[in-house]
């Protein structure tokens, strides 16, 4: 599997990462090294084997439905670069 510089740009954009033009070639190469390893894995015959999203033999870690106090309004907004009407102020969301 090969990705192009264009794919790398797109993936970086999805992850909100900036890849400088100068690094693009190197990043693409590194991407492809990772994918080459995936190619090796993909050659293994996994017919009839269920995917293993979790390796630990644990399930049903559940909590009772009880409401508790979290953090205060003031504490929460300490992390907001800007506050507007008690909310986290964010830039315009529509193009």
């Amino acid at each position: 599997m090969k990705v192009t510089a264009q794919d790398v740009k797109y993936i970086a954009q999805l992850s909100r990462l900036i890849v400088p033009e100068a690094d693009l070639e190197k990043s693409t190469e590194e991407f492809n090294q990772i994918l080459n390893y995936a190619d090796i894995l993909q050659k293994i015959d996994t017919t009839g084997i269920e995917p293993t999203p979790y390796v630990l033999p644990i399930s049903n870690a559940l909590r009772k439905d009880v409401a508790k106090e979290g953090v205060t309004h003031e504490e929460a907004l300490l992390n907001a670069p800007e506050v507007y009407n008690d909310g986290f102020k964010v830039p315009r969301v529509i193009e």
């Binding site: 999203p53 979290g70 309004h73 929460a76 992390n79 008690d86 909310g87 102020k89 969301v93």
Partner: protein, 480 residues
Amino acid sequence: MTKYITVIGLEVHAELKTKSKAFCSCSTEFGGAPNTHICPVCLGMPGALPVLNEQVVEFAIRAGLALNCDIKYFNKFDRKNYFYPDLSKNYQISQFDKPICLNGYIDVDVDGVEKRIGITRIHMEEDAGKLVHSGGNISTSDFSAVDYNRAGVPLIEIVSEPDMRSAEEARAYLENLKAILEYTDVCDCKMQEGSLRCDANISLMPEGATEFGTRAEVKNLNSFRALVRAIEYEVERQKEILENGGRVIQETRTWDDANGKTLSMRSKEEAHDYRYFSEPDLVPVELDDAWVERIRAELPELPAQRQARLIAELGLPKYDASIIVSNKAMAEYFDEAVKTTKDAKGIANWLLGDVSAYLNNEGITISEFKVAPAHLAELVNLTKEGVLSSKLAKKVFAEMLKGDKSPKILVRELGLEQVSDEGAIMKLVEEILAENPQSVADFKAGKERAIGFLVGQIMKKSKGKANPTMVQAMLKEKMQ
């Protein structure tokens, strides 16, 4: 001209009625001041870890069983990745390839035609926060303020098959779905508060075609009326495009209720590249027979069963029964009222007639209706027993709305008892006959209609209290 078939599928998000959020212990209470029901988990702080609320699974199973679904025993959660400020983590915890419920259905009845609408899947996920746009409008605002109180509130998303062919079928499906979610008590279904939300996928295909056309997904449908209007609008919009040789674009549109149209909605998002992957911070949830069967055994009577019972056991017409059961609170009121009267149809008449008119007029629901079910039953009994004429019953009803006095007390206080005493009615009959010799002569000459006039005169003289059946009978007897 080509005839088009409308194809509709609905995606419904229902907020679950838990006390705490899906993955943290913050309160789910509606209407708190902005950013007051929050903690490191729902604020997406680095290192904070989610723990699943067991009630979310419980409710999802209950809804799935009530909607005739297969319940899947192996469940896991997935991350749906996207950058939008309503999610603090930049991903939503949802279920992607292993939803908890598959292959359900709802039977609807539109104008007497029964139809089964398929449910593709139901999955569990978390709600997002709320964006308040400056200037009040998403398209013109310079910035937005985010309130994370709703972030992490548990939802189930119920996805239908594209089985609906008209706005009325879509409305019937949504009404039935809402009733089932109310009966099972998994969601409070307040569309105006956003606890039940509906998106509609709408497309057109030429009659005879085998493949569906390109669909538009319409969001922001906050009422049944909005759903119907948005579908009707979209059908016209798409028809016009197709008839002019154009192509419908697959896109998300938003319903603008004030202007009655759908608008294209282009966000800064990359188009649907969510890069789902298994949520590594949560372990799987594995169900077993004992868990699922316990919930099945605890399911309450559902709307369809209740409707069948009202028809079979109480003899209600299907129409009356369907309206009463579509509203859980109304159905409970009805059941309470028929405990003290044998006249179920009488109760239905009041509920569908004057009571509904009163509720609509006041803009309230039956949960806020002050008249006790037992009092309405007493009013029905008084009418049935002939103590009150239907006209006077309405007068008593009007008085019942003003306080909590029982109809019997009101009848006495207002002096409204229907006069069924033979002597008293005979006296009235004789008086009226003496006063109206011309009408008597007309009747004897064969003018049947004259008797109506005489009955009217007697009712007037008795201020509506004389028993009209007796008046009629005694008049006839006297004039023979």
